[in-house]
Symmetry: C2
Subunit: 509 residues, 2 copies
């Protein structure tokens, strides 16, 4: 009885969360600019209302009672999850959360204009306010050694600056080493990907892609937005967005695969575990789904054995290329400026860049006004490039306007988790490649549904990883994956991870 | 001070109204079917919350205090309007309104499916529930002689079955007489309107149309939906929808003009008077705006003198027609089955049909199961036609699925009001036609902004009409308008209203 009462109470809150999610989706996809102020007011008011319902004495009382009447492991996991979310949310004063919600609703439009006009100064005041609010939020959440830890923990429970540094060190070393090595050889020809690809035909191709990987169009939809995203409006309503370039279909295609991966996760989470826009175990786990489908599957050779005819049908230009040439081209490694378009070898370097800058901003070492210079400096250090404009640099990502400090490392974790899932799926299903070549994308999807999706937020990412693979997160799988895949793409033998550095490592201990 | 407090309180309620409006817009434009149940829950919960805030003791207290401190005529009008809305809303128990909101959210999807599958039986149970809820609602609102009066009053304060019958009698007689007379002559050739009109080009044309009449795209947008509508999501965010047929551009064009007219009204209402989805004095006044732009302006000759080159540019096929031939074709009068496509002479007959059936349904004389037969019978009586399918008959309108019983007469009133505005605008601005020929649509728009729009809901429709034109609603203007316009379209002299019937009228007195 008590658990039913708790669920009725949460279902009511879920209605407001669903309304807020739709308002957010609309803000990013098509809201007229004239609505900006009222929309910010509305999102602020909904945030206030959702929190005042969720953090009410009633929730606590219902939780206390439900905990005494647990009848099954499912109920225990549900109640524990709610208790954890509740305990976490109540640390931040409601007015602070409302202020953040209003600031970010307004900042999202300012950022969009600043990006279009390549004008960082226009964005700086709003960004500065969001940094201050983020710092204040970190203080309320609490941390042991660095305020940034609190922000990391928000997206990835348990992640700290220290544990992140430990992951970054070998990854940065190995990925930089791979990059330098590949730069010495012959790159696949990216020119063969160029052509005229009308948006309408790209939309049809994206639909075919999403259907192939298992996206349920009765429980979701696809739209266009400046910055692609995916979002749960409610159970049965998971939305993804993409954007188009008519001279490069891969721009939209792989972003659709990425967001489609997020959506498959949300579509696989039971409605009873719906908590709002994101219902995964952590954002690292969430990004493991998007990066898995985008890269491991859809940039994999087996996928294209199956899907290449569908591409040829929409874009006959590809009848003149071999599938293998095409596959190598979509995996070309090169130093570039835009994170979302980066290849798998350089991608984490883009994340490390953002991580370093965010840490300095939150610590107050770096001022908002100094960001564009620091961005250029650090891009040079990591990638050997300097962006000519802020559009191609510090203004490229939506995350800061949305107050998502501490989020970027989730992408790196996503890459690592994805390689770990891939390793274990292949160990359990040795003929996976042949199945994928036959279009059996349902095989990895079923594995993910069973091991990841159906648990929603009810397990912590560490627990989930051990339950799914029998071991904690192990970044070695990602390095092994890069070594093997890019050896094939570049038709060469690449240095194995750790080989060169092992002696140094030992010395350092 | 008290008025500011009242406004702060109402602004908060407006946030939830805005969220509900967006959820409704989304439901009609693109929500995945899998979200249906959750969406109905969400709309129900928002309705409950909005009403519990608006009907709270706090609203009453703030109203009482504000009434004692009124400092200006604007404040008086604002407070009076809120008091009236409040007094009206509190007559219906909140649970009944929530039930209605949930039923209609679900019924809207069922209706859409039933329409697509031409299956009235599929829609009947939901419709039946809505009829019962409407009857119950009428009982709570109260009425003198007929329960349908309560539903009429909801959309048009002061309208009763009796006053409506008094309008219908001469209109039905005169419009039927015109129809019979025109049927004896030679009709304009509608065939010249046929062709291939790609949706994309139609969208561009609709944008040009909306820009021409003054729609502000920074404060609104245009989408596609099964049944066209317009809706205020918030101040600065007024949305219209349309739909397309690629062999007939007029299908979309005049529906865009119609919804554009509604949107111009909402865009002209001051944000301080924002109350939710519709902020006009009444739905009759609202429909006067849509019908004015759709018919009086956009089916008028002067508009096409200006706009015909824009049409020729998008659809070169029209270079082979004369503008006058085209103008006569878009005004062809004929007996037809679909209300939204009916010409101005037969349109009110479609309304009379719906009015008669609704009155019988609400009185309980007609059962839901008997509706399709009654529809066919009455269409035959009024228009001399019998629809072969329910798709072309009883299932064609969205209104009943939305619980909007009593709404249809608003369209008839809209026609009458629109002709009255037109008469008075022309009296005040004798060279209006020449100005319209020059593209000066801002001239009638300014008149409407000043006399109608800026008052929002703060005047009752009767007060507004007298203030705007110096006299109450006078249906003679519409009949005069039809007589003059269709005389020109058909190049003939038509009987003047009332002429033949005057002697009979005298006898009857």
């Amino acid at each position: 009885m008590s658990i039913e009462k708790l669920q009725t109470h949460l279902n009511k809150i879920a209605c407001y969360r669903s309304a807020a999610a739709l308002l957010q989706w609309d803000l990013e996809t098509g809201m007229p600019v004239g609505a900006a102020t009222h929309r910010a007011d509305t999102l602020g008011e909904l945030t206030r209302h959702i929190l005042s319902l969720f953090l009410s004495a009633r929730t606590e009382r219902l939780l206390d009672r439900a905990e005494k009447e647990i009848r099954s492991p499912e109920e225990r996991s549900l109640v524990t999850t709610i208790r954890r979310e509740w305990a976490r949310a109540r640390k931040i004063p409601i007015p602070l959360q409302v202020r953040m919600s209003r600031e970010t609703a307004a900042a999202s439009l300012i950022w969009r204009q600043a990006l279009e006009e390549n004008d960082f100064k226009r964005f700086a005041p709003a960004l500065n306010r969001i940094i201050h609010l983020s710092r204040e939020t970190a203080r309320h959440w609490g941390y042991d050694s660095h305020p940034y830890d609190a922000l990391l923990d928000r997206w990835e429970p348990g992640l700290t600056t220290r544990s992140l540094e430990a992951l970054i060190q070998p990854l940065q070393a190995y990925q930089t080493r791979l990059l330098e090595r590949l730069d010495q050889g012959r790159h696949p020809d990216a020119g063969i990907l160029k052509g005229r690809f009308p948006q309408k035909a790209q939309e049809t191709l994206n639909t075919a892609l999403l259907e192939t990987i298992g996206f349920d169009f009765n429980a979701g939809r696809v739209d266009t937005s400046r910055h692609p995203f995916s979002l749960s409006v409610s159970p049965g309503d998971i939305r993804v967005t993409t954007r188009y370039r008519e001279n490069d279909f891969t721009y939209s295609f792989f972003s659709a695969a990425h967001e489609g991966g997020h959506a498959l996760y949300e579509q696989g989470i039971p409605p009873s575990l719906y908590m709002g826009e994101d219902n995964g175990a952590s954002m690292g786990i969430h990004e493991s789904q998007s990066r898995f489908w985008e890269n491991v599957i859809c940039r994999g050779r087996a996928f294209w054995v199956h899907f290449y005819p569908a591409l040829e049908k929409r874009f006959p230009i590809f009848r003149n290329r071999s599938m293998d040439t095409f596959w190598r081209s979509i995996n070309r490694v090169h130093r570039s400026l835009i994170r979302t378009e980066a290849d798998e070898v350089t991608y984490n370097l883009h994340i490390i860049l953002r991580y370093r800058l965010e840490k300095e901003l939150i610590a107050g070492i770096l001022k908002t006004a100094g960001l564009p210079d620091r961005w250029r400096e650090e891009t040079d250090t990591l990638l050997g490039l300097v962006p000519a404009t802020d559009q191609m640099g510090v203004l490229q990502d939506i995350h800061w306007s949305a107050g998502a400090f501490g989020y970027f490392p989730s992408y790196m974790l996503g890459n690592l988790y994805a390689a770990q899932w891939d390793h274990h799926i292949r160990r359990e299903i040795p003929d996976l490649s042949q199945l994928l070549e036959q279009g059996r994308m349902d095989v990895p999807l079923s594995w993910l549904r069973e091991r990841i999706h159906r648990w929603g937020k009810s397990l912590l990412p560490g627990q989930l990883t051990i339950q799914a693979t029998g071991e904690p997160l192990n970044p070695g799988y990602y390095m092994d994956y890069l070594c093997k895949k890019f050896g094939q793409v570049y038709q060469t033998i690449l240095p194995r991870p750790g080989n060169r550095d092992r002696s140094t490592d030992r010395k350092n201990r």
